[in-house]
């Protein structure tokens, strides 16, 4: 009887996990039929490179959401890390120092988020919303509202270079996803992240230092947002004070489209990749089809709602 019961459950789980992927395939199929440009190697590489920025942020967002939290500050961290990296290079520092500084800045902002949440007991939504405003304001102060240019030549490689025919940002994204996969699937820290999202009190009573883990997770989210900001700066060959506005919504959408529960405790990193691809493919496709700008927003919102709706319905 046990085996009998196990089977339908297993296959239900598989379908649940395959849902987002199915959605991605359906959308891609539709786009391939509507535009002969969509299904070219070139365009697929193009989409993946575009997606990589959001996807990298979404990895951090996945960790945060798995703990039952949220990070609204990622967009502002993108801007601040990018600006500081660019500022250092413009001031004559080498690429290495500048890139590391940018990642450190991202990590520190994430760390502050984590401390506000754990030590300050501020709900994540509010803590990171405050950080969003403060970091954006500080970036504007730092850049005086102007883009920063004058970056070193080698720095361009990060956003525009290739490694064996694959765009560098895509390679970076792949490495991050693989690490996150192992972290969540195989590692103790991964267990604790799921445990905190599932039942923080139980995790605490099991002797897990939940605060330390939450701080680590928000720091990682900040670090990855910072990295994404650095790559964006390289892609644009300049740092923009307004970079990253609204990125938090795209990242959250990617995570949720990927099947992760906003309540925490449930979800996979693979789903997030699929979720990010859905958003990227949608943006790309609507551009390729030259859909009027106003209708683009309607379409994007509607498709996201529809995808989540079907996913939830099937679950019932």
């Amino acid at each position: 009887m046990a085996a009998e019961q196990l089977k339908p459950k297993l296959s239900a789980t598989i379908i649940r996990k395959m849902g987002p992927l199915l959605g991605l395939l359906l959308i891609s199929l539709a786009l391939a039929l509507l535009s002969d440009r969509f299904l070219t190697v070139n365009n697929l590489l193009n989409v993946t490179r575009q997606v990589s920025l959001n996807a990298i942020i979404s990895v951090g967002m996945t960790l945060v959401i798995l703990t039952g939290g949220i990070d609204l500050s990622v967009g502002s961290i993108v801007a601040m890390a990018g600006s500081i990296t660019a500022g250092l290079m413009a001031a004559g520092q080498g690429m290495g120092t500048a890139v590391i500084a940018g990642m450190v800045v991202g990590s520190i902002l994430g760390l502050i988020n984590g401390l506000l949440i754990t030590k300050g007991k501020i709900p994540p939504f509010i803590a990171t919303m405050g950080m969003m405003t403060v970091a954006r304001g500080y970036t504007l102060v730092y850049t005086e509202g102007r883009p920063i240019t004058g970056l070193t030549e080698d720095f361009r490689w990060l956003g525009a270079g290739y490694i064996m025919g694959i765009p560098v940002p895509v390679v970076i994204m792949a490495l991050i996803f693989i690490s996150a996969y192992f972290l969540l699937k195989k590692n103790q820290l991964g267990r604790y992240i799921y445990a905190i999202g599932g039942n923080e009190e139980a995790a605490r009573l099991s002797g897990i230092s939940t605060k330390k883990i939450l701080v680590t997770v928000y720091t990682l989210s900040g670090l990855l947002a910072g990295l994404s900001g650095i790559i964006l700066t390289s892609r644009l060959n300049s740092a923009q004070p307004t970079a990253g506005m609204g990125f938090e919504l795209d990242a959250i959408a990617a995570v949720v489209l990927g099947g992760t529960s906003l309540a925490g405790g449930l979800g996979t990193i693979g789903g997030t990749l699929v979720g990010a691809m859905i958003i990227g493919v949608l943006d790309n496709g609507l551009n390729l089809l030259n859909v009027s700008s106003f209708y683009q927003q309607v379409a994007k919102g509607a498709v996201i709602l529809l995808a989540v709706l079907l996913d939830r319905k099937r679950d019932k």
Partner: protein, 287 residues
């Protein structure tokens, strides 16, 4: 009861006169230049300048101007988020007997003592005409639009399309918004390049998007695509001189800021000022 008291205070003769500047946004180098021009001129003319940033939100701008009225500034210089939505704010200033000057964008109503502006429709037309001429009246062009619904996007688009329509051989193959943003300009252009194997020219509603598009074109290794921007920011002028951008329509925001302060000074001194001060638009091409 304290409101009445304060108005009875003796006029501070020794105190500097205060001028309010309500800017639509400072997230954009164009307006940072405008503000800097105004600040320098205010310092030079012995005026105190109070700057308010509406972050592109018409309701925030109304609140900003209400707060300037509360401060009883001598003149309000306003760079409207939207020409129509600004009218009630200007009327409120009129009621409080504070003279209003508009800069960069006009107002659709209320009493304005002077408006200092470049004509965005004309600027769009200039850019369109340049593209028509350079392409010899034939070719495929792309239009990158600003934030949907802003007057700058609407007007530049209007002027550009008027110029383009006059040339039968030119077709607009793609017209997509990139929100005045460099990153979006790049991303949207990448996608448009995928969809269109042949593109001869791009007009972007501002330089930020133009520079983003330029990066996309370079990365795609597509030759012979001319890109025209708008604003003549420092980055853009540099790109024009290095041969990246074909041209940009210069709005001279620093001059706008300076002229608006000088006008304000005249208004305070009760001198008459012209109702409209056009700021010359200029096509910046490689020297």
């Amino acid at each position: 009861g304290c409101g009445g008291n304060q108005s009875k205070e003796p006029a501070p003769a020794a105190k500097k006169a205060v001028v309010g500047l309500a800017v639509s946004t400072l997230n954009n180098p164009f307006f940072v230049d405008l503000k800097d021009g105004a600040k320098a001129a205010a310092d030079a003319n012995g005026l105190e300048l109070v700057v308010m940033d509406a972050q592109n939100d018409a309701s925030k701008q109304l609140a900003n101007i209400e707060n300037l009225i509360q401060q009883k500034v001598s003149v309000i210089i306003v760079n409207p988020v939207d020409s129509k939505a600004i009218v009630p704010a200007i009327e409120a200033a009129n009621k409080a007997n504070i003279p209003v000057i508009t800069v960069d964008r006009g107002a659709a109503g209320g009493t304005v003592v002077s408006s200092i502006a470049s004509d965005n429709v004309a600027g769009g037309k200039m850019a369109g005409q340049l593209i028509v001429d350079k392409l010899g009246g034939k070719g495929k062009v792309v239009e990158l639009e600003g934030i949907p619904g802003t007057s700058a996007a609407n007007d530049r688009g209007k002027g550009f399309n008027e110029a383009i329509k006059a040339a039968a051989g030119i077709t607009v193959v793609a017209k997509q918004p990139a929100d005045f943003d460099r990153a979006k300009g790049m991303k949207v252009m990448e996608n448009i390049l995928q969809a269109n194997p042949e593109i001869n020219a791009v007009f972007a509603h501002n330089d930020e998007m133009a520079l983003g598009a330029l990066e996309a074109i370079k990365a795609a290794k597509r030759a012979n695509v001319m890109v025209v921007g708008f604003d003549a920011t420092a980055d853009a002028v540099k790109a024009v001189n290095e041969g990246g951008l074909a041209a940009t329509v210069a709005q001279k925001p620093k001059d706008m800021g300076k002229i608006s302060i000088e006008t304000a000074k005249k208004v305070i001194a009760k001198e008459t000022v012209p109702a409209a001060i056009p700021v010359a638009l200029e096509l910046v091409v490689k020297k």
